[in-house]
Structure formats: structure tokens, C-alpha cells
């Protein structure tokens, strides 16, 4: 039988999953509950500022102080540093504690850890931005389709075969763009098991090279391959590797197209053996480069410097694939000189056991 009369208030507060502190006029903590002691350590006689290592300037809105001033309850969202050094987000509520003669004697502060909710909130904002970015790209594609269709119709009306062909090419181009966006979205949203197989990375690199060389020459960009002939076979997902290289080469070409200062542009795909059996592939360009301000944002989801031309999905997909491979992606870049992206695939065994 549960006998509540045997429970004093401290025992009750100790079993709560929230942080509970009781503080005096000087804001010193006179008691803290079990959850609080677990995450922040012994707190007795410390002020909250000392305990949470809050800078003076951050304490202007102190809810405990406010409660002492007006005897009312207050609440505030804040960030605290726990014992282990992690930052947690909490909503803190302060309420007055009165003595026998109804005089304000202390405050009780209850804080709810909302770090995971904050995390979810961030994800939701991201989703919102993705959708907005996507709507933008699709708008651009619609304009292209609109134009292509108009030109085809105009060609039919004037019985002009060349115009029909030109218009149709525009329609196809935009149709292609649309399928790419859809593919990227699906790739991002799906938890996909990589389809590992023993392949020769040089072959995939050559495939991608062949895919792009004509397109590149249209923009007077030269694509080269510098493949290490001693490169070992590797266990990777061929489709994933293909997507990674296509994305990196597309980015490299865009960087060249945006660069108006050099006469000749070059994109190079290189392969080599890394230490401990890893495979390293580089895609280098002598395009616009990435300046200091942008460097920190490159791997942010949906980051793009291409205005309406980019969706910010490319590197997001690339990163996801590299994560699935347990690999890494890095880059070095100098503004107006060029950028080199480096992807490293670690050595791994085939799922079946043999390597």
C-alpha cells in the first residue's frame, strides 16, 4: 500500500524527472533534487550563476530574482552547461515559497530539459527551408518549360523545323532537371542500404568523365582524368560513387562557369590509393573558388551559392552517401583560384565476408 504520509516533500521531488532547486534570497541553492544532482553535481550553497557558469550579462533576466521582487511565478528559456560540459536547453519556472506568516522565504525553480525538442525544431526549420528552396528551383524549371513549349508552338505555327527542335531541346533539358531534383529528394528522404560490391573505382571515374566531357566542352571547360593505374579494387556502392562523382563534377563545372576571369577552365578527376587500404578520389577545378565567409557553410544542408541555379541538395546527398560508406569528404579552396574536393572511402569487406 502506498502511504503518502511517509513521503516527505524532498523524497517526492527527488523522483521527478525535472531539475528542481530551492534557492534563498542571495540566490544560493539550498537544496537540489536527484536529477539536478546527477547532471550538475552537488550544488549546495552555490549560486545558480556559479553552478551554471553563466556570464554576468546573461543574468539580467533572472527569474528567481524576479520572483523575489514581485512574489509572482516566472518562466524563461535558457541554455545551461551540465557537469560533462554539454549544453542543454531548458524551460525554467520559478515559484515563490512562503513561510508560516506568508512571507516570501525562497523560490523553487523547476526546469524541464527541452534539448530534444529544440533539436526537432531545428530539423523542422530545415525542412521548411528545403521546401522553399525546392519551390524556387521548380519555379525556374517551369519558366524553362514554359519557354520551350512556347518556342515549339511558335515553330509549328511558322512551320520552322529548327525552331521546333530548339524548343524541344529546352523542354527536354528542363524535364531532365526536374527528374534530377526528384531523384535527389528521394535520395535524401530515404533510409537506403548501400548496395556494396567489389568494383574498380577507376571505371566509375571514367564513366563519369565520359558522361560530362561533351557537356563541358560546350562551356569551354576541359575535363581530364588522372587515374592511378595501381588503384586497388574497392568495396563501394557503385551507384553511390557514381552519384558522388556526378555531383562533384557538376559543382566543379558550375564553379568554372561562374568564373569570368580565366580564359581556360579545367576540371580534373584523380584517383589514388590512401593509407590503410582506403581509396581517395579528388575532383579539382580552377573555377571561382570558395571565399572565407562561405567556407564554413559549404556542408550546411541546402547551402547554395548559385542563386536560383542551385538547390543545395547536391552536397547534402554526397555527404549522405559518404556517411553510408563510413568515409569522409573534405575540400581545400582558394578564392578565384579553384577548389579541390577530396572523398575518402575506407577499406571494407564485402557483406558476405570475403573482401
Amino acid at each position: 500500500m502506498l502511504d503518502l504520509s511517509s513521503y516527505d516533500c524532498y523524497r517526492l521531488l527527488d523522483v521527478l524527472p525535472y531539475y528542481v532547486t530551492i534557492q534563498d534570497q542571495e540566490l544560493r541553492i539550498v537544496w537540489s533534487n536527484k536529477a539536478h544532482r546527477r547532471d550538475f553535481g552537488p550544488a549546495k550553497q552555490k549560486t545558480c550563476r556559479q553552478l551554471y557558469k553563466i556570464h554576468d550579462s546573461k543574468c539580467v533576466d533572472c527569474i528567481a530574482k524576479k520572483t523575489f521582487e514581485d512574489g509572482e511565478a516566472h518562466s524563461k528559456e535558457m541554455q545551461l552547461t551540465v557537469k560533462k560540459g554539454d549544453r542543454v536547453s531548458v524551460i525554467a519556472y520559478s515559484s515563490p515559497l512562503l513561510d508560516e506568516v506568508n512571507k516570501l522565504a525562497g523560490v523553487i525553480v523547476t526546469s524541464v530539459n527541452i534539448t530534444s525538442i529544440k533539436e526537432m525544431q531545428k530539423q523542422l526549420i530545415l525542412v521548411g527551408q528545403t521546401v522553399a528552396g525546392m519551390a524556387h528551383s521548380i519555379k525556374n524549371i517551369m519558366m524553362g518549360l514554359d519557354g520551350g513549349i512556347y518556342i515549339v508552338n511558335s515553330g509549328i505555327k511558322g512551320n520552322d523545323q529548327k525552331e521546333i527542335k530548339d524548343g524541344w531541346d529546352i523542354v527536354l533539358l528542363n524535364f531532365d532537371k526536374l527528374s534530377h531534383i526528384v531523384k535527389d529528394i528521394l535520395y535524401c528522404s530515404r533510409e537506403r542500404e548501400p548496395n556494396f560490391g567489389l568494383i574498380h573505382p577507376n571505371m566509375v571515374a571514367t564513366e563519369v568523365y565520359n558522361l560530362f566531357k561533351d557537356l563541358a566542352s560546350r562551356y569551354s571547360i576541359e575535363i581530364r582524368v588522372d587515374l592511378d593505374s595501381t588503384l586497388k579494387e574497392a568495396v563501394v556502392d557503385p551507384e553511390g560513387l557514381h552519384t558522388v562523382l556526378t555531383n562533384l563534377v557538376t559543382n566543379a563545372m558550375d564553379a568554372c562557369k561562374m568564373d569570368l576571369w580565366k580564359d581556360t577552365h579545367l576540371v580534373e578527376i584523380r584517383t589514388r590509393n590512401g593509407f590503410d587500404g582506403s581509396t581517395i578520389i579528388e575532383v579539382a577545378d580552377n573555377g571561382v573558388g570558395i571565399d572565407k565567409d562561405l567556407k564554413n557553410h559549404v556542408f550546411e544542408d541546402l547551402f547554395t551559392s548559385k542563386g536560383d541555379k542551385g538547390t543545395g541538395l547536391g552536397l547534402m546527398v554526397t555527404q549522405k552517401i559518404m556517411r553510408e560508406h563510413g568515409g569522409s569528404i573534405t575540400f581545400r579552396s582558394r578564392p578565384s583560384q579553384g577548389t579541390t574536393f577530396v572523398v575518402t572511402f575506407p577499406q571494407r569487406n564485402l557483406p558476405g565476408g570475403e573482401s
Binding site: 519558366m143 519557354g147 520551350g148 518556342i151 511558335s154 569570368l260
Partner: protein
């Protein structure tokens, strides 16, 4: 003689679209794919109106506009801004009209007629 319109856009498909449409509507056209080229074509062709994409990389659209308005001869040339980004047209101080992508063709034609007949 028909009036001439300069189409400035870095995307060849949009240039092709707009020039085809404007020619079908009875205007002469010339085009440029970046701000620097646009400035040259402007001087050579003396157009009566410019349609300007402000989303071109490296802000070449805005730079072109600044350079154009510095020239007394082209200071008052009507400019129609074509931009998919809200607020982007603010870079152009006195646009005759602003259109969002995808463009409403009839409205564009109407604006051009009002501007230059």
C-alpha cells in the same frame, strides 16, 4: 521601324524564349548573357528597352544596371526586371516593371507596349 529590345539573361533557354516571343510580337531583339556583354551590346545596338535578369551570378545584373544608368544616353532607358527572388528588384531603383519567373507573357507584353509602344 520596329522597336528594339535587349534581353539580358545568363540562361540561353530564357534568352531564346524571350527573343522568340518578342519577335513574334513584332519587336526586334538583341541579347547578352552577362553584364559586360550587355554593356557592349547596349552601345552597339541602341535598344529602346532592356529586360534584365537580376539572378545572374556575381551580381553582374546589378553592376550592368549601375553602369548603364551612369551613361547619360541610357540613363532613362526603360528597364523591365525579371527576377525569381523577392526583393531583388530593389537593386534597380526605377524599374519600369518587375516580373517573377515564370513570366506572365501577356502581362509582359502589355508592360512593354505601355513603355515603348
Amino acid at each position: 521601324m520596329s522597336k528594339k529590345i535587349l534581353v539580358v539573361d545568363d540562361e540561353p533557354q530564357i534568352v531564346k524564349y524571350l527573343t522568340t516571343f518578342l519577335e513574334d510580337s513584332g519587336y526586334d531583339t538583341c541579347s547578352a548573357s552577362n553584364g559586360e556583354e550587355a554593356l557592349e551590346v547596349l552601345k552597339k545596338e541602341n535598344p529602346d528597352l532592356v529586360t534584365l535578369d537580376l539572378q545572374m551570378p556575381n551580381e553582374t545584373g546589378t553592376r550592368f544596371y549601375r553602369n548603364m544608368t551612369k551613361d547619360k544616353k541610357f540613363k532613362d532607358l526603360p528597364v523591365i526586371v525579371i527576377s525569381g527572388i523577392p526583393g531583388r528588384h530593389l537593386a534597380v531603383t526605377k524599374p519600369f516593371a518587375v516580373f517573377d519567373k515564370p513570366i506572365d507573357r501577356d502581362a509582359l507584353l502589355q508592360a512593354i507596349k505601355t513603355a515603348i509602344g
